[in-house]
């Protein structure tokens, strides 16, 4: 029993130092507690089931966490979380199963970020092999695998190989989610980066434009869906005894943490590129700014949202597109309202 305790504390501390502790602590505590003596078989089975559910929850959580850290650029810190998820995944699903692949992919990506290409290749090769041996593996996983392989190739400087991988990624993602989904947009973005580095600016430009279009549309939809329409507003006003609730309280992004981090990363880097581009089209910058503003609005960061909104208005002065300016003005009004409420 003593030995068990020791192992527990060391592992716990390892997980602790990156700050995933408070998120997974209570779950770990449940999993690591002593196995109580359960006399009846049903109770034991029940407990077994409970434990495996907890473990799966833990896997999901640590994975999302690790992915988020990757998008934030904290490669080193994402490794422990990914390892944790891998450990429990092996525990639950077994050694060579498709469920391990996401963890391997995260580890691979982290290794790429840390510059350990050989190690990354090892992780990705494991994932690749598992996917290959699982004929009915989902397209979402395949898409992620190819994205990581593409990143590896790009990091090695093998641009043609990277392009093929990203093409595969986009193909699988569009088969699964559709061509204009935010989960497909990542593939376009990385592909654009490759073309950018190859110096094919026209292709890269058009790809960046598509990425921005996809995000722009998605965010606009999110805001539209979460903002009460005029009639509902009127209804709220007439209702005297209704619960006093801020009208924007329930605006959430509708994305998980990893996707949020991805959005910030992608949109910001495209914004940087557009700002430094000399021969850009004015509407490109305007739309990028608008998308960023909407993103920060969804995150309740009204100050930044306004800032980018203003930028977008400045940029859109050169564009003769009434619909776009109108939507911008409406958006700024929303910002004002929301800002006043806080």
């Amino acid at each position: 029993m003593l030995k068990y305790r020791v192992v527990h504390s060391i592992e716990h501390q390892k997980a602790d130092w990156v700050g995933i502790h408070e998120k997974i602590c209570d779950k770990l505590a449940f999993l690591r507690q002593q196995i109580p003596f359960l006399p009846s078989r049903e109770e034991r089975e029940k407990r077994q089931k409970q434990i495996s559910i907890k473990k799966i929850e833990l896997i999901e959580m640590t994975r999302t966490l690790a992915q988020k850290m990757l998008f934030e650029g904290k490669h080193e810190q994402s490794v422990p979380a990914a390892m944790q998820s891998l450990r429990y995944a092996i525990d639950v699903y077994g050694v060579a199963t498709i469920e391990l692949v996401p963890s391997y992919l995260i580890l691979g990506e982290a290794s790429i970020g840390l510059g350990k290409l050989a190690q990354a290749e090892e992780y990705l090769a494991k994932a690749d092999w598992t996917v290959l041996k699982t004929p009915d593996c989902s397209r979402a996983i395949k898409s992620k695998l190819y994205r990581n392989l593409g990143l590896l190739n790009a990091a090695k400087g093998e641009f043609q190989g990277a392009l093929t991988c990203f093409a595969d990624d986009i193909y699988h993602a569009s088969e699964e989610f559709g061509t204009d989904d935010i989960r497909t947009a990542g593939g376009y973005f990385h592909m654009a980066n490759v073309f950018f580095r190859q110096g094919k600016m026209d292709v890269a430009d058009s790809l960046y434009r598509q990425v921005i279009d996809i995000w722009h549309e998605h965010l606009a939809d999110v805001i539209k869906a979460r903002t009460p329409s005029e009639e509902e507003e009127a209804l709220n006003r007439t209702r005297v005894l209704g619960p006093v609730k801020g009208m924007f309280e329930d605006i959430s992004s509708g994305m998980d943490e990893a996707q949020e981090a991805e959005a910030i990363q992608i949109l910001n880097s495209i914004h940087d590129i557009r700002e430094h581009q000399t021969n850009r089209r004015p509407e490109d910058l305007a739309q990028t700014c608008h998308a960023l503003a909407m993103l920060y609005f969804v995150f309740h960061d009204i100050k930044r949202a306004k800032e980018y909104g203003r930028k977008a208005i400045v940029a859109s002065d050169e564009v003769k597109d009434d619909d776009f300016s109108k939507s911008l003005v409406e958006f700024m009004k929303l910002c004002e309202k929301q800002g006043a409420q806080i």
Binding site: Q160, L163, T164, F166, Y171, E175, K200, V203, S206, Q210
Partner: protein, 541 residues
């Protein structure tokens, strides 16, 4: 056991597993054979031989299941050159060690060995000349055609083409799913299986995307137009044609330099698509736009065959208006009639705008006349029909002329103007006979007969009403002559009917009206009416 199972079914080594080694002498024979050991294991594990074979397919499981068989070496393949000696009855001679891994030491390099080595060297050389398989090459075999095509497009950077194609394919699949598995759509080939079409699409779409990246709209337009033309011949692909014409129009709207010529063409194409699909209202909108654009450049824009865009627009507008008008008129409600009249007048005007389009004017006149006839405004109807007849007479369109005469005859008949009705029906009858169109000949023949009968009816009734001697004799004369004349087509009714008639006929005007109304409904029924019409008449007499 394991490797033998990877061999094909017919291979002798596979069968050999179930054989017992033959002809082994008592001395060299082992107490425990591979087969026996395996069978013992089989019994303890409670499996049958078949099940074992299945397990052996999976190498991982096999390791845990066959401790004995793994201990013993694999059985040497029977019949292969090197191991013949092992299977021959070996009286007294010691057996070579079991297992094919240890080759019996044969005589040093004889002729066959040298040849073998040379073969091997040759094989190695050939193998080294083969190109190494790269990842892409493997993927080509592993993936579907569509997959590879998409990858090609994406790696070349044509992501918009990729999106368009994937979405088109998905659109079709969704349609099929929505229609349910019993729909006829499932019998038609799917786009993603038709490789030539996919290739064509890829070629033109990438061309279009490259052009659009450069801002060369006319090039993009032309490649999309080509694509639409490719699919035009197949009725199953009309939705693709639709799609590409619509995108053509979108592209054309971006082009400002050519004063909208491309846009006009785009509107025309989309309009045609909509017209074939049956959404006439929207088609009309596009044609109106086409007309508006081409009006400003009447003398500059020419089509391939030399007609101006403007004339073409007028013709198309006239067509669509006529269709809408008749569609509306068919429902038979008051407001619809008004509306359809309005639209048909527009059609007429359009037809007039375009020179040398008498056909269009004709159909428009005809449609208008029909509506008027339904409304009861016979004079107007006659007026328009007369115009129709004149026009067709002038231009010499036999078929239309025949139709015009027929319609005019009908109207005259219903108004009570039997002289003209007979005249026109006789014209129609002659023409249709000359054309050799049996159906219209029959109809016209009947109508002609009816009209003649009607013409005669008035005089006949007069005679009966007056009823003096001369009249009677005339009637009798006519009757006898007529019996002679008409006995052939209707032999029994006329003489028989004459006896039964007792009641005098009602006043001629009323009777005529009744007849007229009846005629109006009867005209479609053709030859069957012939007998009845004649019968009525003879009864009245």
């Amino acid at each position: 056991m394991d490797w033998v199972h990877w061999k094909p079914m017919q291979c002798i080594t596979r069968h050999s597993l179930v054989w017992k080694p033959q002809g082994c002498g008592a001395r060299g024979r082992r107490r425990m054979t591979w087969r026996r050991g395996t069978e013992a294991e089989m019994a303890t594990a409670g499996k049958t031989w078949k099940e074992l074979e299945e397990i052996a397919q999976d190498r991982m499981k096999e390791r845990t299941f066959f401790p004995y068989s793994k201990m013993a070496a694999t059985l040497p393949p029977i019949g292969s050159k090197n191991n013949n000696a092992a299977l021959r009855p070996s009286y007294g001679k010691p057996k070579p060690p079991p297992g094919g891994r240890l080759q019996p030491v044969t005589t040093p390099a004889n002729a066959r060995g040298r040849r073998e080595r040379m073969d091997e060297e040759k094989n190695m050389m050939l193998r080294s000349q083969l190109p190494l398989l790269r990842k892409q090459d493997i993927a080509k075999f592993r993936n579907s055609y569509k997959h590879n095509l998409c990858l090609d497009m994406l790696t070349e950077g044509y992501h918009l083409s990729f999106c368009e194609m994937v979405n088109l394919i998905r659109q079709q699949m969704d349609l099929r799913e929505a229609a349910g598995p019993e729909s006829f759509l499932w019998q038609k080939p799917v786009l993603q299986d038709q490789t030539e079409k996919l290739d064509l699409m890829k070629m033109y779409l990438t061309q279009a995307e490259a052009a659009s990246r450069k801002g060369d709209w006319s090039a993009e337009y032309s490649s999309r137009y080509e694509l639409a033309q490719v699919f035009k011949d197949n009725p199953d692909d009309m939705w693709l044609v639709d799609h590409f014409f619509h995108t053509c129009l979108d592209v054309a709207k971006k082009e400002i330099k050519d004063k909208g010529k491309m846009q006009a063409e785009g509107h025309c194409n989309v309009g045609l698509c909509l017209q074939t699909k049956g959404s006439y209202k929207e088609a009309a909108k596009h044609f109106e736009e086409y007309h508006r654009l081409s009006q400003n450049n009447k003398d500059e824009w020419f089509m391939v065959n030399g007609t101006t865009f403007y004339t073409d627009a007028c013709v198309r507008l006239n067509n669509i208006y006529t269709i809408i008008g008749t569609e509306l008129g068919r429902t038979g409600e008051e407001e619809d009639d008004e509306a359809s009249l309005e639209i048909l007048t527009q059609a007429l005007e359009m037809a007039k705008c375009s020179d040398s389009n008498s056909e269009g004017i004709g159909t428009a006149c005809d449609a208008i006349a029909k509506i008027y006839a339904r409304q009861g405004n016979k004079e107007k109807s006659v007026e328009f029909l007369k115009r129709f007849v004149e026009l067709t007479e002038k231009t010499g369109l036999e078929k239309e002329y025949c139709l015009a005469c027929h319609n005019l005859g009908n109207v005259c008949n219903s108004v009570g103007n039997y002289d003209e009705a007979t005249e026109y029906f006789s014209k129609a009858y002659n023409i249709s006979r000359a054309l050799g169109d049996s159906e219209s000949t029959n109809v016209n023949r009947v109508q002609y007969g009816i009209a003649i009968a009607h013409r005669m009816m008035g005089k006949f009734a007069n005679h009966v009403v007056i009823g003096d001697k001369t009249c009677m004799s005339r009637l009798v004369d006519w009757k006898s002559v007529r019996t002679d004349e008409f006995s052939k087509p209707i032999p029994d009714t006329v003489p028989g009917a004459a006896h039964h008639v007792v009641i005098p006929p009602p006043p001629p005007e009323d009777k005529e009206k009744d007849e007229g109304q009846e005629e109006g409904t009867e005209e479609e029924f053709g030859a069957r009416e012939e007998a009845e019409g004649q019968q009525d008449e003879s009864q009245e007499s």
